[in-house]
Amino acid sequence: MTFHNEAIDPEALPSLAAVPLTPVSPRLAPCQAILVLVRWLLITAVVLLFPVRDEALALWQPWLAAGAGGLGLIAMTLGWVEARRRAYGLREHDLIYRRGLLVRRTQVLPLVRLQHVESLSNPVERAFGLVRLACFTAGGRGADLVLEGLPTQRAEAVKQHLLARLSGTPPEPRQTEESP
């Protein structure tokens, strides 16, 4: 076995910045907003109904609950805007997912590292016809990349493409993959 160390022209490498990303479904925004709202409604209810014995503090309790509710509304708005900005890209050799509003994060999973794919959905996502794809690699303890906000049919097509790559068969043509 010989040691190779071939020179690579950095200019010739495919650039991550140049990849056109596809926005996730616009239905993800209301779905995320509802999920955030439910979470914050629970927190607000706990703050409002928590038995406080101190009278002075009890007077402030509705205002504290209103504050929690206000924070919930801000979180919901941010969640909505953030969900509208999420996007993904499927290249020949990797899967890209971009998310985040203030802190933007672009995650890239080379398909050769993929071990298995799971599709997941909670009742709210199902109501909006959305599916999450969880991609796992070797030796990891959890999903390495979770692609959220895909319509059911698109998620199935992406999953089939990933599974085809996993089994080593050539991917289907893009037209078939993207057809509803």
Binding site: N5, L13, T106, P110
Partner: protein, 527 residues
């Protein structure tokens, strides 16, 4: 029982038929299961014993009878487990059938094996019986154990599985050219790569983390010791030999405690690494060590993902450190380090030589580049916020100390200075370099860890940009490798993007040629 005179080839041939565990394995299982039960349910056991002492009509005879009954039951279960446990090699697949109440069949293909370990506790040495463990690409969670087989069988199994594994007859090394010399593939006669001399063993004990672990383990004894000293000290005529100054006495006491801890740490290292030898067996790297509990670990070079050069703070002062060889699924932090393939007691030169032997071209740690200075300021702010929150919480809990205004100013200044110092140390420790096909990433504060890995060994990456980073054209690159996440914060954005592109191009072009690394490791089927 022991068949030492038998040639190894007969063991290999016999493995194609169903094999049973050694009968001594039943005793071993009884001991290990008993110890494990006691360890897991110690409070319950102590409560039961305390309860029994209060019941008058239960005497020693009844307790002895119950213990004998339990022992009999345990022995019967072990016998049943032994009878159900069998294994064989079906070409290059190890098939194991076992189960007490639920019958299970495990199949491990040789091409999925990444790590083999052999343990031999002292009490099994006379019987030439060992515990044999195999780990697949799925990592520590996939470990399968043969709890007690003959030494010859263990050697034959290891030879067969790793001979049929990657990088040997299939020519499927994950990174071409990274696995060594031209003769690396042939199962040549093994040679010693590294043997741990006694001085290095002692220094490893002193500089490893075990000194802190021992201190933590012994900390509950401080209060009883304090009480004992309080009761006994007045009766002892200590004034004759204790120094007159209380400060000197306290200082001497601290030195004595440190010396005891250091001695215990050296003893722990001696226990674990006595007779440490790393052998080069072609594709396999085999290490053997242990004073009473002998351990043998075999690492396949084709499965080696990341090599980490670790130096604790004291280790940097004494010029010693150790290498950790990571494979897939080796996450879990320092706690899991004892189970990993570790080369202890090395100097920097020795570690560079060893890395170079494992991965030609990966030796000699290059000068590392620092990340943006802005990261130092961000770190300083984060540490200050943490310290401020800590001090604020303490004041809320125990009340504000009666300090004059200049005292508060001094406290604030010392916090700012402390934060600044820690941020500076952390920023200086963080560095990275790319040389040839390898990436070097160093992290730490007082102690440092330098990860070395070939670019194609990346699992995934992510590029993160906060609002501030976007304004300053900076980005944080997070690299997921076999031993966890390596973060390169606050790189210049074009540099971070170029590095990401290079890493992705390397992994996608290299791994295409070696698809075996993609497949799941073990197939588990239930009968």
């Amino acid at each position: 029982m022991s068949e030492e005179g038998e040639p190894p080839a007969s063991d290999e041939r016999a493995l194609t038929d169903w094999q049973r565990l050694s009968p001594w394995a039943m005793g071993l299982m009884l001991v290990t299961a008993g110890l494990s039960l006691v360890r897991q349910h110690l409070p319950l056991l102590l409560a039961a014993v305390a309860g029994l002492t209060l019941v008058e009509h239960i005497g020693w005879r009844e307790v002895g009878g119950a213990a004998a009954l339990l022992l009999l039951l345990g022995g019967a279960l072990c016998l049943l487990y032994y009878r159900r446990f069998r294994f064989r090699l079906d070409e290059d697949v190890l098939v194991i059938q076992k189960g007490l109440f639920e019958h299970r069949e495990f199949k491990v293909a040789a091409r999925h094996v990444q790590h083999i370990a052999v343990h031999q506790p002292l009490y099994l040495r006379p019987f030439d019986v060992v515990q044999w463990q195999v780990e697949t690409l799925a990592g520590e969670a996939s470990r399968i154990e043969l709890p007690g087989i003959r030494r010859g069988q263990a050697d034959a199994l290891g030879r067969r599985l790793q001979a049929d594994g990657p990088g040997n007859d299939r020519g499927e090394a994950p990174v071409e050219g990274l696995t060594g010399e031209p003769d690396a593939v042939a199962p040549s006669a093994s040679r010693v790569r590294y043997a741990l001399p006694p001085r290095a063993l002692a220094l490893h004990g002193l500089t490893s983390r075990s000194i802190y672990v021992i201190a933590a383990v012994l900390s509950p004894l401080v209060r009883p010791l304090e009480r004992w000293l309080h009761d006994r000290l007045p009766q002892l005529d200590l004034l004759a030999w204790l120094p007159a100054s209380p400060l000197v006495a306290v200082g001497l006491g601290l030195v004595a405690v440190l010396l005891v801890l250091a001695a215990l740490a050296v003893l722990a290292a001696w226990w674990r690494f006595h007779g440490y030898v790393l052998r080069d067996d072609g594709e396999r790297q085999v290490q053997v060590s242990g004073l009473f509990h002998r351990q043998e670990q075999a690492l396949s070079l084709a499965r080696l993902q990341v090599v980490e050069w670790v130096q604790t703070g004291l280790g940097r002062l004494l010029g010693r450190g150790y290498l950790v060889c990571h494979q897939f699924g080796s996450q879990g932090g320092g706690a899991a380090e004892s189970r990993r393939f570790l080369v202890p007691g090395l100097t920097l030169t020795e570690s560079e030589r060893l890395i170079g032997e494992l991965w030609p071209g990966g030796d000699r740690l290059p000068p590392l580049s620092r990340v943006s200075r802005l990261y130092r300021r961000v770190l300083w702010l984060r540490i200050l916020l943490g310290l401020g929150a800590g001090v604020g919480g303490l004041i809320l809990l125990v009340g504000a100390p009666p300090l004059p205004p200049w005292g508060w100013a001094m406290l604030a200044a010392s916090l700012v200075g402390l934060g600044g110092g820690a941020a500076e140390l952390r920023w200086r420790a963080l560095g990275w370099a790319r040389r040839g096909a390898y990436l070097y990433v160093r992290q730490g504060l007082w102690g440092q860890r330098t990860s070395v890995f070939p670019l194609p060994h990346l699992i995934s990456l992510s590029l993160r940009q906060s609002w501030l980073q976007r304004r300053r054209s900076l980005a944080t690159l997070e690299l997921q490798v076999a031993n966890g996440r390596l973060t390169l914060p606050f790189l210049e954005e074009p540099l971070a993007r170029a590095l990401a592109d290079q890493l992705l191009a390397s992994v996608e072009s290299a791994t295409e040629r070696f698809p075996e690394t993609r497949r799941r490791s073990a197939c588990v089927a239930r009968r």
